[in-house]
């Protein structure tokens, strides 16, 4: 009998970890992974809420999120590759031509 909030808090923690990752990681790919982490956090709360409300649409939503995540992954990694081609680096701190 795990109370619902616990799931939610767990998801929250994961989400927070994702945010932190985005903030502190330098490697683009790692940052991207942190985003995935955030998405997963969200997914968890979807499923949890779905269970809470007995509404399957939550689970369906998760399904769609995964699709989106997949798409994003494809595009994102492509972009990363493109950047890598032009800049020879994966360190976001060094990807700052555009500023001011």
């Amino acid at each position: 009998m795990v109370p619902l909030p616990y799931y939610l808090v767990l998801s929250g923690i994961l989400f927070a970890c994702g945010v932190t990752g985005f903030l502190i990681k330098r490697n683009v790919i790692a940052i991207f992974m942190s985003i995935e982490l955030m998405l997963n956090g969200v997914n968890l709360s979807f499923v949890a809420f779905a269970a809470h409300w007995h509404a399957l649409s939550g689970q369906v939503f998760v399904f769609f999120v995964m699709v989106v995540a997949a798409a994003e992954a494809a595009v994102g990694l492509a972009i990363i590759i493109a950047v890598y081609r032009t800049r020879e680096t994966l360190n976001v701190d060094q990807v700052n031509l555009l500023k001011l």
Binding site: L14, C17, L23, I24, N27, N40, L44, A51, V62, I80
Partner: protein, 174 residues
């Protein structure tokens, strides 16, 4: 009771994995720890009865997507990330902001999202019950995702494909 144990254990694993993801300096390790997170989340899904979701979580997410990641990492043979200090803002404002936000949300969730528990498999999300939703109620989104995928493919093609072109401006009219 058993639920408790499973929840705690895998919850712990996922969190640990998440933290490890942050801690690890080599992206490949991060990727692996992410996989761990995903896998343990799949278990949590099962615990909540979302069988179908759990399945694709493992197949699509932990499987396909992460493979993509690993592949990229290999392709670009990304090395250890050097801890350049490019951004003070992120540390000075970002992290505290994140903490505040996170704590607030957590607090709200604990305080206001009701306390009733969900027993295992509360809402059995077998493919059998998901399918009608997916192909009936959510037909349109489902179809639209195809466009999404299409775009993703195009994007990948455009961006990742090498430029077989002479230097710029040569054919550029003036």
């Amino acid at each position: 009771m058993i639920h408790w144990i499973i929840f705690v254990v895998f919850g712990a694993i996922s969190v640990a994995g998440a933290i490890n993801l942050l801690a690890q300096r080599h992206p490949i390790n991060s990727a692996l720890s992410l996989i761990a997170v995903l896998a343990s989340l799949a278990v949590e899904y099962l615990l909540l009865g979302a069988e179908f979701v759990a399945a694709i979580q493992v197949i699509v997410y932990a499987g396909a997507i992460m493979v993509l990641f690993v592949f990229t990492i290999m392709l670009l043979n990304a090395g250890e990330e050097e801890r350049t200090r490019g951004s003070r803002v992120a540390i000075l404002f970002g992290v505290p902001g994140m903490l505040v936000g996170g704590i607030l949300i957590a607090w709200v969730l604990l305080r206001y999202s009701g306390t009733q528990s969900v027993e295992a498999g509360a809402l059995p999300g077998s493919p059998a019950v998901i399918a009608p939703l997916l192909f009936h109620d959510f037909l349109l989104p489902f179809e639209v995702t195809s466009v999404l995928i299409l775009i993703a493919i195009m994007g990948a093609v455009v961006l990742a494909s090498r430029e077989p072109s002479p230097p710029p401006g040569e054919r550029g009219r003036v």
